[in-house]
Each structure stands twice: as structure tokens, then as C-alpha cells.
């Protein structure tokens, strides 16, 4: 067994923190506000929707320190081992005064009531570090996970644009501290398994992937937690115990995203953000789709593996990955196995996952020339919303005939599911409007969706069929029109 450490170590703003008494469900937000009285970070919803609790978390990625925005309300304290937490109280300008983003927010009247402001400042700060002169689209993306009820966001956009004029990210204090913080974080990393607890409540951070398999073999009942964007709500909203919790987000082996042997491999612990660039490069249709998964903070935390493993029928990634013929790698102390992703989902709340087993990676075949892809998400709002219907389509068209079709839907059944009848209606048929109309009609036999507060069964049926029609309009008629320059 790996050596074990009984405390977590991290840096909070300027200070080193060591904590031994930490329960699995302790959140960063409660720690900041209650234990440290750092009340600049606010609680608005405790479920990662409003962004009032946005802080930066820096972690070492291949030896380099990378800062990302996260929702402190659903970030478990134990997972901060080896990280640098930066709160609003730590922000300052290069001259020690107000930070350029703060200055811009004051001057542009970016606050009215001001309650969302610290979170918005943190999101704009992260944006400014990435792109000091952002486009409106970038600002919109940076603010996806921040709700402001007072302003209508316009003054905040003005502040985001103005911040570039007020200071240079290269001169930012976090840049000046970078070497020091990196050194301190490296010194904290000892390769040990970390176990912390309060009373009976325990959190385990395995030393590596092999150690994870060992831990799960010993604790098959454990709650595996990656990005905690769903499990966080079990705790904050449903008051559900998660001990013993096995946290996996820190395992760099599990976060790898790489393309080799004609496959794109996404480690189960890779966040949506980690996977975004490689996925969008290989499958351009997923670029815009990816940006519509939750908000920025949640994409920095949530993982592709978690989205799959939790088995939700409205997860954003399974339909589009199944359409791409993704394979799932499952691992346990016994060994590994590979299954088609679509076979993983057995029924509502039931997945093909054995005791002690965990999702290790998802692999997508890269050679998909000649295949037309599309990914759609239908929800009440464009950004930061729960999906009503998600769809991933992949069609191989040869000589004007549909040779193969994979039509995968989320939100239409108890699991993410292929539309067998609609696929059959397309296969072997000409690539034309009539075929798609028949497929749209056939969908009625594929699914009996539910009615809930997000959408009615009727709406889901209607919109799913319309997505097929849209696909034809975009890929058939639309492509033709584009070719002809119409």
C-alpha cells in the first residue's frame, strides 16, 4: 500500500493550511465563510448555479500552475489537497491597490446590490488572465455560471472590456507569486494516499490509479467523487451522507486527454474543460455543444467520466459520445475491461458497473471521415441549463445513400438511448428530406418520454423529431446551399 498521510495541505490565499479533521461532505465555501470568516465569497444557491461563491483554484498540471474558477459551494474541502485557493480577499493590483478587474467593475457600475459581485469579479479575473482583451462571446462564456439579478449584465460586459486597459495580466500579483506557489505546492506533494476524517465520516484521496483500485476493493460501498458537480448537490441539497468518499479529481493519470492509435482517450477524471480543446479539434461539431454544458465553473470541475458514471438519462455527454461509437474502459483491482458506451446504461439508475469497479477512461475512434455529425442540446436557456433533450447524430452517406446512421438521444428514455426505428428508417435510404421525415415519424415508436417540470412528453417528442429535420436542413439542404454559395 502507498504511504498514508492524515491531513490535507493546501494554500489559502497567502497562507499554508493543514487540516486533519475534515469530513467528506465539508465544502470549501463553509470552510471559507465559517472557519476562516472570509465572507467575501457568498452563498446564493449551494448548488453551483449562481456563481456567487466563485473562487479560483490553482493546481499543478504537468508541473505548471493552472488557475480555474470553481463553485466553492460544491467543491469538497478535502479535494483541495495540493491546490492554491484564491478568494476575492486576495485580489489586488500590481501596485497593491484595487485589481484592474475590480477597478473596472466600480467604474462601469457593474454592481447594483453587489451580492453577486465577488463571484463575478473572480470569473472576470480568470477571463482577464486568459484573455485580457476578450470578445463579447468570451465574456458571455466567462459569465455563464454567474447570475446577476440587478444589472442585466451590460455594465459587467463594459467592465470586462475595460479591464484590459487598466492593467496587464503579466504584472498580476498571482504571476509574481507563481514560482513561489509552485514551489510550495510541489513541496506538499508527497505521493501519499491521504485520509482525513471527522468522527466516522471519512474522505480518501488515493495516491494513484492503482491505489484507487485498491481502495475501492476494500471499500466497494464508497462514493466515488470526481468533479462533485452532482454529488455536491447530494450533500448540499439532499443532505445525503457520502462517507466514505473516495475523491479522484487529483489523480493526474486519470485526467489525461490524448490522441493515439487512432483513438482519442479521455481519462475519467478529465474535466469538461480539460477535454474541450482535443475534442473540438477532432470533432468540430462538439466545440459549440461543449460550451453549452453547464457554466464555466461547472465545466472546470465536472468530468466526462462522472457524467457517464452517474448514469443520468439527461447527461450531456453520453448521447454525443455514443453517436461517436465511444468505448468505455472500466477498471478494478481485478483488471480492466472495455465495453461500448451504449451498453453501460442498463436502466434508470442502473449501470454495468461491478463492485469495486470504476470508470477509467472513454475512448473515441478518430477515423470518422465521411461521417456527418451533429450534436444538439435543447433546454429552456442556452447556457447553464439542464437538458430537456440532447441528441448526437452520426450518418455515413455513400453515393447519396445513407449507409449507416447512429441517432442517440438523451432525455427521451430512462437511459441515453439510440433511436432504433428512426435509424432503421434512414439506413439504405436516399439522403433526402423524405427519408428524414420518415425517420422523424419513426421516432414516435422509439420513445415514450416523460413529462416533468423541464418539458412535457409532447414537447420532447416534437423537438426530437424537429432535430432530425434540422439536421437535414443543416447537413443536406444547408450543405448544398453552402456549396452553391447561396
Amino acid at each position: 500500500m502507498a504511504k498514508e498521510r492524515r491531513e490535507i495541505r493546501f494554500i489559502l490565499n497567502g497562507s499554508d493550511v493543514r487540516l486533519g479533521e475534515v469530513a467528506a461532505q465539508d465544502t470549501l465555501l463553509d470552510f471559507l465563510r465559517n472557519a476562516r470568516r472570509l465572507t467575501g465569497t457568498k452563498e446564493g444557491c449551494a448548488e453551483g448555479d449562481c456563481g456567487a461563491c466563485t473562487v479560483l483554484v490553482g493546481r499543478l498540471v504537468k508541473g505548471r500552475l493552472r488557475y480555474e474558477t470553481v463553485n466553492a459551494c460544491i467543491r469538497f474541502l478535502a479535494t483541495l489537497d495540493g491546490c492554491h485557493v484564491v478568494t476575492i480577499e486576495h485580489l489586488r493590483g500590481a501596485d497593491g491597490g484595487m485589481h484592474p478587474v475590480q477597478q473596472a467593475m466600480v467604474e462601469a457600475h457593474g454592481s447594483q446590490c453587489g451580492f453577486c459581485t465577488p463571484g463575478i469579479v473572480m470569473s472576470l479575473y480568470a477571463l482577464w488572465m486568459q484573455s485580457a482583451a476578450p470578445s463579447d462571446a468570451e465574456i458571455e462564456t466567462a459569465l455563464q455560471g454567474n447570475l446577476c439579478r440587478c444589472t442585466g449584465y451590460e455594465p459587467i460586459f463594459k467592465a470586462a472590456r475595460a479591464a484590459a486597459e487598466l492593467g496587464d495580466p503579466a504584472a498580476d500579483p498571482l504571476e509574481a507569486e507563481r514560482a513561489d506557489v509552485t514551489g510550495r505546492l510541489k513541496a506538499m506533494a508527497d505521493g501519499a494516499r491521504v485520509t482525513v476524517s471527522r468522527g466516522e465520516d471519512r474522505a480518501i484521496l488515493p495516491a494513484d490509479v492503482a491505489d484507487l483500485a485498491d481502495v475501492l476493493a476494500k471499500h466497494p460501498e464508497a462514493t466515488i467523487v470526481a468533479g462533485a458537480t452532482d454529488v455536491g448537490l447530494w450533500v448540499t441539497k439532499f443532505l445525503k451522507p457520502i462517507s466514505p468518499a473516495v475523491f479522484v479529481g487529483h489523480l493526474s493519470d486519470l485526467r489525461q486527454v490524448d490522441a493515439k492509435a487512432a483513438r482519442l482517450r479521455i481519462g475519467a477524471g478529465a474535466s469538461y474543460t480539460d477535454a474541450e480543446a482535443a475534442l473540438a479539434r477532432a470533432f468540430p461539431h462538439l466545440g459549440p455543444y461543449w460550451k453549452r454544458i453547464a457554466g464555466w465553473q461547472v465545466r472546470n470541475m465536472g468530468t466526462v467520466g462522472g457524467n457517464i458514471a452517474n448514469g443520468s438519462p439527461i447527461g450531456d455527454t453520453p448521447p454525443v459520445l455514443i453517436a461517436l461509437e465511444a468505448k468505455l474502459h472500466l477498471r478494478s483491482a481485478e483488471g480492466t475491461r472495455e465495453i461500448p458506451l451504449e451498453d453501460f446504461f442498463i436502466d434508470y439508475g442502473k449501470q454495468d458497473l461491478r463492485a469495486g469497479e470504476f470508470v477509467e477512461a472513454v475512448e473515441i475512434p478518430l477515423a470518422q471521415e465521411g461521417v456527418r455529425h451533429a450534436a444538439y442540446k435543447v433546454s429552456k436557456r442556452r447556457d447553464e441549463d439542464i437538458t430537456a433533450v440532447a441528441a448526437g447524430f452520426a450518418l455515413r452517406v455513400e453515393n447519396g445513400v445513407i449507409a449507416d446512421a447512429r441517432l442517440v438521444f438523451g432525455g427521451m428514455a430512462a437511459v441515453p438511448k439510440r433511436a432504433a426505428q428512426a435509424e432503421a428508417a434512414l439506413k439504405g435510404q436516399p439522403f433526402d428530406a423524405a427519408s428524414f421525415e420518415r425517420a422523424a415519424q419513426a421516432l414516435a415508436e422509439d420513445f415514450q418520454p416523460l413529462t416533468d417540470w423541464r418539458a412535457s412528453a409532447e414537447y420532447r417528442r416534437l423537438v426530437a423529431a424537429n432535430l432530425l429535420r434540422r439536421f437535414w436542413a443543416e447537413e443536406g439542404e444547408g450543405a448544398k446551399a453552402r456549396l452553391e454559395g447561396v
Partner: protein, 750 residues
């Protein structure tokens, strides 16, 4: 008191865009909100809430909870041993702690204070409530039917005719003329039925408070509220305390919009503190905020309007059925008053209905009652203009109320800005740029709000160094610390930077009504100006004394006393700073104050234009462009005024397109979280363009009108008119969420 009539003047500070006094605290995280303070030995208080929409409480057994280690107090209704004098406060008590019945999902039935949150949670689980579940009703039309489950027996007022359920508490009627005759004279009559869903103000800061009551019965309360004097008065009555023994301090407020105009946690926290002898902090979760604070009324409204071919409206009729949640409120009456207020009508008749249902009691939300009424009336007006082939703005101009018009709700208008607002919209590039493209539509609508005045106290201290400390008693929800400082500086003739305004606690100033009704810039501004004049009078007297001349022979010009009349030029003017420095030698500290029940708040009108695009495959609406026109009387700080106009518009956009309370068949709220109660994010909104008009309010020395609320009145109708045009189907039910819109498009296509 006599009104201080508007007098035109040249402003030096008012009307400029000075830096925000609260800006730095807010961007650095230093500003302290409801949940941001602690006290030594503080306990955590939590509420136990009804899981039923309607249930008789047979008994509550708290013994197991009380016996738990770390539990310091358990409170139920039995602890509130008072019968408040007014029916309003009896309802407040019933709302903050259920009596013999739980009336809605989330209604508080007990509360605990414990040494930690986890112990408090465990204690809530240990409380046994024996419920007899009763039939429930959450829909307004259902609740009015004679056979509906009844919430309260014997509360129906005489104004309600026979044949209605006892849930219909009151009916109010407004109007003049003969509507039957008016409809006979019409060439065209349109009648339609509209519904709107309940929405929530959605302030990002959940309710929070910290209560400390000593063994001597004195108590301090810190809370986020729009009216700490109101909190004090209400809590004192519910706790059976002398008002003067309770001091309430308002925290920085993280949004209210009307939703923080009443009490929820505060009396409970005080009772827990009284029982435990310790400070008790209570904070609502987002779920509690949505289930059990005060959302808006949902409505069912019928409107009938007739017009002649020449575009003149001959009659307007409206029936405004509003459910106010579990207790009495007057949203229906407000709707019935506001709906036709923009029009000059010979014949108009409206009826407002106040209906109770098994939902949380509705609270104010920016111009309470008015947006839903405007949605209905302005939709029919839009349709009429279309049928008559008239431009929507011309049609409204032809029928617009003006100075001297007898308003549909009774009074005769003084100078108002409606026609100016309409003309500004008509001349604006937005209106004059054609909207092209498929599935697109432009909408237009107007809105009205009364604006309030009310009880107000202000104190203004001239400090020894010539700076000014200004105290107001209204929580700053829209920039009042800036606007009061500006008006004080203007009146005193000193730089804005020399004034600092704070929100005083309830022990430090006279009574102040709630920050509501868009009253603060008007009423507190008026009191600030008067308090400054009071201080000026004192400073003039001091200068007169120093110079040895009559007080009457001193004038105040540009921040200095100067001799006037026969003494003019005999002495060097003395600046405020110079007079302040000598204060202790000339009679002691100098301070002005003013207390008033302010009247003369001018009504306000706004007009909105929206361009929308509808996705016919998903029913999603994109707002492409949006412009707000509003009469501010005088914009004291234009940035804040624009902020209010934008804020009202975007909240209205959320209301029109996506936000809704969704109750299940079981009477339980289905979407109590931001995850499913969708308020707009940045990408849902266009940049909101604003155009401030300044038609002076005759009732304010600077001409100020309230601006905070009117902005939420037109958007529901504006969006409905735009989307109806874009989708090719008249939308009469809000929100126009994608599922609803797609269904309507499909139904229209047949």
C-alpha cells in the same frame, strides 16, 4: 404638509455620474450582507417546514429534539403568546409560524437553535408533527369556485358577491363612464383571456439575520431587509416587546425588488434567542427562499376593449383575478388600477379579485400587480392597433392620458410624461429601423406605476472639518447613498466627495417607511434637501452672530454664507468649512434634520421596444434588441437610473420567457432551485438600451420621480407582442417558455 413644488434650477452635482460610494466595498468582498456577521456563542437556527400543501396540525412533539445534545431551543407557535392587533400582523404571525394549519408547501411549523448546523438538522428530524392532510388548491380560477378547498373560514369581505368560494377575500372596482354604451359605439371589440405564472424576485442573497436578546428583554437584530423599521415594529408586536427595546440594523442588501419588505426568519430568530439566551443566526437556503418567501401572484385576467375605426378607444373592461398565496394581499386591486392607467378613456370598468390559495403569501415584486395587468391590456391594445391597421405607437398616442385626464383608477393627472415617452420611442432609431428576417417580430408596450412617498426621517451632521455625515433610514437598494449624498451636496453647495451617507439603525432616526414603491429618491431625497436647508439656516444664523447682523440678512450661496441686503459686501463670505470650524464657539454642533410623511410622488410611465426571433423547431426565443424609455422626472444619478431601467426590463424578460413556479398535482413546488427556476444568464439578454426622459414631478423640489419599478411593467406585454408577431400566433399565457411556444405554434398550424 405643503408640497415643496418643483422649481427649475441649474444643477452642479445632481445629474452627474459621480463614483459609487458602495463600489469598492462591493468589489472587494468587504460589504457585509445578512449572513456575513457572527456573534460570540452564536447558535444556528433552522426551520422545520410543512411537506404538505394544506394540512391541519394535530400536534407537534418537540421533546426528542429538545433532549438532544447541542439543542438550545425549540420554538413552535405555542411560544408566540400574542394576538396582534391588526389582521395584517395576525397573518404575518400565521405566515412566519403556522398556527392550527400548514397552508402551503414550505410553511414553517417549528424551529430549532443548536450549536451547529448538523445538530440543528438532526433536531428538525426529531420533531414529530402529526398532520391531517387536507385537500388543497393552487390555481386561482379553481380556488374561486364555490366547491374549492377553503383556506380560511369567515375572512371574506362584503365586497365579494355570492357564489364564490370563501377563498375570494375581496373584490375592488374602479372606473367611470358607461362601458356598455362604449362597446356599442365601437367598430371593433376584442376580448381575450390571459394567464401569468407566479414568479420570484430572485434576489441572489437569501434571507438571513442574526438575533440577540438579553435576559433583560432588550434585543438587537441584524438582517437583510428593505425596511428595518418595519421589521422592528412587526417583530416587537409578534414578540410582545416594547418597540424601543428592539434595535434593528439593516445589512447591505443583496437584492430585494420587493421581496424583502416583510419578515420571515426575523421573529423566529428573536424567539429562539429569547428561549436559548444566545445569539441566533438564521439563513435561508435557496430552496427555502423559493418555497417559503414571497413570490408574485399568478393571474387569470380577462380584457375587453372596443375602438372606433378612427382609432379612438370607446371602452375598456377588465377582470383581474389574482391569487396572493395563503394570505390576503391587494395585488388584484393594484392590477385593476394600473391596467388602463396609461389611457384617456370615457368608459372604463375594472374589477380586482383577491384570492387565497395553498401557496406562499405573495410579496411585492417591482410594481406589484402591474406587469400582469399591462401584459393583458397591452396585448389587446396591440391587437386592436393591428386590426385597425394603425401603428402601435400612433394608436397609443391617440388614446394616451395626459395632464388633466381622469385616470382609470380615479384621480386626475397633473403633468405626466406619457406622451413624451411615446414620442421619444416613435422618434428613436430602434423604432425606425425595419426588422427583417424570418421568424422575427417587434413588440411595443407601455407601463404605468404610481410611485409612493411616505414617512421619512433624515439627519445631516456638519462635521468640524467641513465634511458632512448624512443618515437615512432606508436600506440602499438602488443607489440611495449616492443620490442622497448628491442632493445634500447640491443643496449645501459643497463637493459630492465631502458627504458620506449611511443607513442608520432604528434607534438613530425617526420612523422610515420601507424602501418600496420607488419612494426613496423622491421622499428621502426631499427630506435630505430639507435637512440640508435646516442646516443651512443654522449656519446662516451662526454667520450672522459672528458678523453681528440679523439672520435674515444672510444668504447661502455656493456653499458659503454671505451678507445680503444692506450688509451686502460688508463681510467676507464664510464657507461651510469655516462656519463648521467655529461651531463649538458659536453655539455648539451644527446638524439639520427633517421628518415628513411625504406626498406628491409623481406617477411614472415607460415604453419598451423589443425585437425577437423565434426558433420554430424548439420554441426558443432570442431577444435581439431592446430599448427602454422612461420618465425619471429628474435623473439624480443617470447611471443608477439606467441601471434601474435595465434591471426592470431584464427581470420582465425573464418573467415573460422562462420563469415560473411549477406546482405538481400534490401541491408541492416542483422547481425550488436556480437549477430549475431559470433566471436569465448573460447570453439570454441583449444589451438593454435606455433613454431617460425628464418631465419634472411638480411635487419634488428637483422634479424627481421614482424610477425603480416602472421598468418591469411593460416587458411582459412587449415580449408577448413581439413573440406573437414572430411566431404568427397570439401568445396569451406566460411564460412563453420553449415548450409552451412550440405547442402554440403547432396548434396554430393545425
Amino acid at each position: 404638509m405643503a408640497k415643496d413644488e418643483f422649481q427649475s434650477r441649474q444643477f452642479k452635482v445632481v445629474g452627474t455620474r459621480v463614483p459609487r460610494p458602495d463600489g469598492v466595498d462591493k468589489v472587494t468582498g468587504r460589504a457585509r450582507y445578512g449572513a456575513d456577521i457572527t456573534a460570540p456563542g452564536m447558535l444556528t437556527g433552522l426551520c422545520l417546514r410543512s411537506p404538505h400543501a394544506h394540512a391541519r396540525i394535530r400536534s407537534i412533539d418537540t421533546s426528542a429534539a429538545e433532549a438532544m445534545k447541542g439543542v438550545k431551543a425549540v420554538v413552535t407557535r405555542a411560544d408566540f403568546d400574542v394576538t396582534p392587533e391588526s389582521s395584517g400582523n395576525r397573518d404575518v404571525l400565521d405566515n412566519v409560524m403556522a398556527g392550527d394549519k400548514a397552508l402551503y408547501d414550505g410553511h414553517t411549523v417549528a424551529a430549532v437553535a443548536a450549536t451547529s448546523r448538523s445538530v440543528a438538522r438532526a433536531a428538525l428530524k426529531a420533531i414529530k408533527v402529526d398532520y391531517e392532510v387536507l385537500p388543497h388548491v393552487t390555481d386561482v380560477d379553481e380556488a374561486m369556485k364555490p366547491d374549492a378547498p377553503v383556506l380560511h373560514e369567515g375572512r371574506q369581505q362584503e365586497s365579494v358577491p355570492e357564489g364564490y368560494s370563501q377563498n375570494v377575500l375581496a373584490r375592488s372596482q374602479y372606473g367611470h363612464g358607461d362601458v356598455d354604451k362604449g362597446f356599442e359605439e365601437a367598430d371593433i371589440v376584442i376580448e381575450r383571456h390571459f394567464t401569468t405564472a407566479a414568479t420570484h424576485q430572485g434576489y441572489i442573497e437569501p434571507h438571513a439575520c442574526l438575533a440577540t436578546m438579553g435576559g433583560d428583554g432588550k434585543a438587537d437584530l441584524w438582517c437583510c431587509t428593505q425596511g428595518h423599521y418595519h421589521v422592528r415594529d412587526t417583530c416587537a408586536e409578534l414578540l410582545g416587546m416594547d418597540t424601543g427595546q428592539l434595535k434593528v440594523t439593516s445589512s447591505e442588501i443583496g437584492g430585494g425588488f420587493g421581496g424583502k419588505t416583510t419578515v420571515f426568519l426575523e421573529p423566529v430568530a428573536l424567539m429562539l434567542s429569547r428561549k436559548s439566551g444566545k445569539p441566533v443566526k438564521m439563513t435561508m437556503s435557496r430552496e427555502e427562499v423559493l418555497r417559503a418567501s414571497g413570490p408574485t401572484a399568478s393571474t387569470s385576467v380577462s380584457i375587453k376593449i372596443g375602438a372606433r375605426k378612427d382609432g379612438r378607444i370607446t371602452a375598456g373592461w377588465g377582470d383581474f383575478r389574482y391569487q396572493n398565496g395563503a394570505f390576503e394581499a391587494m395585488n388584484g386591486a393594484l392590477g385593476a388600477m394600473c391596467g388602463f392607467a396609461p389611457y384617456d378613456l370615457e368608459n372604463v370598468r375594472t374589477t380586482g379579485w383577491e384570492v387565497v390559495t395553498n401557496r406562499p403569501k405573495a410579496a411585492a415584486y417591482r410594481a406589484p400587480g402591474a406587469p400582469m395587468a399591462a401584459f393583458a391590456v397591452e396585448s389587446v391594445v396591440d391587437e386592436l392597433a393591428g386590426e385597425l391597421g394603425m401603428d402601435p405607437i400612433d394608436f397609443r398616442l391617440m388614446n394616451a392620458a395626459d395632464e388633466g385626464t381622469k385616470a382609470a383608477y380615479g384621480p386626475t393627472y397633473p403633468a405626466i410624461g406619457l406622451k413624451s415617452v411615446l414620442e421619444a420611442a416613435k422618434d428613436h432609431p430602434h423604432w425606425n429601423t425595419p426588422l427583417e428576417g424570418e421568424n422575427r417580430g417587434r413588440g411595443f408596450a407601455v407601463g404605468f406605476w404610481f410611485n409612493f412617498g411616505g414617512n421619512t426621517s433624515v439627519s445631516l451632521m456638519i462635521n468640524g472639518d467641513g465634511t458632512v455625515s448624512l443618515s437615512e433610514g432606508n436600506p440602499d437598494i438602488g443607489g440611495s447613498r449616492a443620490s442622497m449624498s448628491m442632493m445634500a451636496a447640491e443643496e449645501l453647495g459643497i463637493p459630492y466627495e465631502h458627504v458620506r451617507c449611511v443607513i442608520a439603525d432604528t434607534a438613530s432616526l425617526g420612523q422610515n417607511d420601507i424602501t418600496d414603491g420607488s419612494r426613496v429618491t423622491f421622499a428621502v431625497g426631499l427630506a435630505t434637501i430639507k435637512a440640508a436647508r435646516h442646516a443651512i439656516d443654522i449656519m446662516k444664523a451662526r454667520a450672522a452672530r459672528i458678523w453681528g447682523i440679523d439672520e435674515e440678512a444672510v444668504e447661502w450661496v455656493d456653499g458659503a454664507a454671505q451678507p445680503a441686503g444692506p450688509n451686502a459686501g460688508k463681510f467676507e463670505p464664510m464657507t461651510l468649512k469655516e462656519i463648521a470650524a467655529l461651531a463649538s464657539k458659536t453655539g455648539g454642533p451644527i446638524a439639520g434634520h427633517f421628518e415628513v410623511n411625504a406626498e406628491g410622488a409623481g406617477v411614472s410611465f415607460g415604453a419598451h421596444i423589443a425585437d425577437t426571433e423565434v426558433d420554430p423547431e424548439t420554441g426558443a426565443v432570442k431577444v435581439l434588441r431592446y430599448t427602454v424609455f422612461q420618465d425619471a422626472g429628474k435623473a439624480v444619478h443617470p447611471d443608477y437610473v439606467e441601471g434601474q431601467m435595465q434591471g426592470g426590463a431584464v427581470q420582465g424578460i425573464g418573467w415573460a420567457l422562462n420563469e415560473e413556479y411549477i406546482y405538481g398535482e400534490d401541491g408541492i413546488l416542483q422547481n425550488p432551485g436556480y437549477l430549475d427556476y431559470r433566471i436569465p444568464v448573460a447570453s439570454d439578454l441583449p444589451m438593454i438600451d435606455t433613454k431617460i426622459l425628464e418631465i419634472p414631478n411638480p411635487g419634488h423640489p428637483y422634479g424627481v420621480r421614482g424610477v425603480g419599478e416602472t421598468g418591469i411593467v411593460p416587458p411582459l406585454a412587449t415580449l408577448a407582442n413581439a413573440v406573437s408577431r414572430a411566431a404568427g400566433v397570439r401568445m396569451t399565457s406566460l411564460p412563453m417558455s420553449p415548450p409552451k411556444l412550440l405547442a402554440a405554434i403547432k396548434a396554430a398550424k393545425g
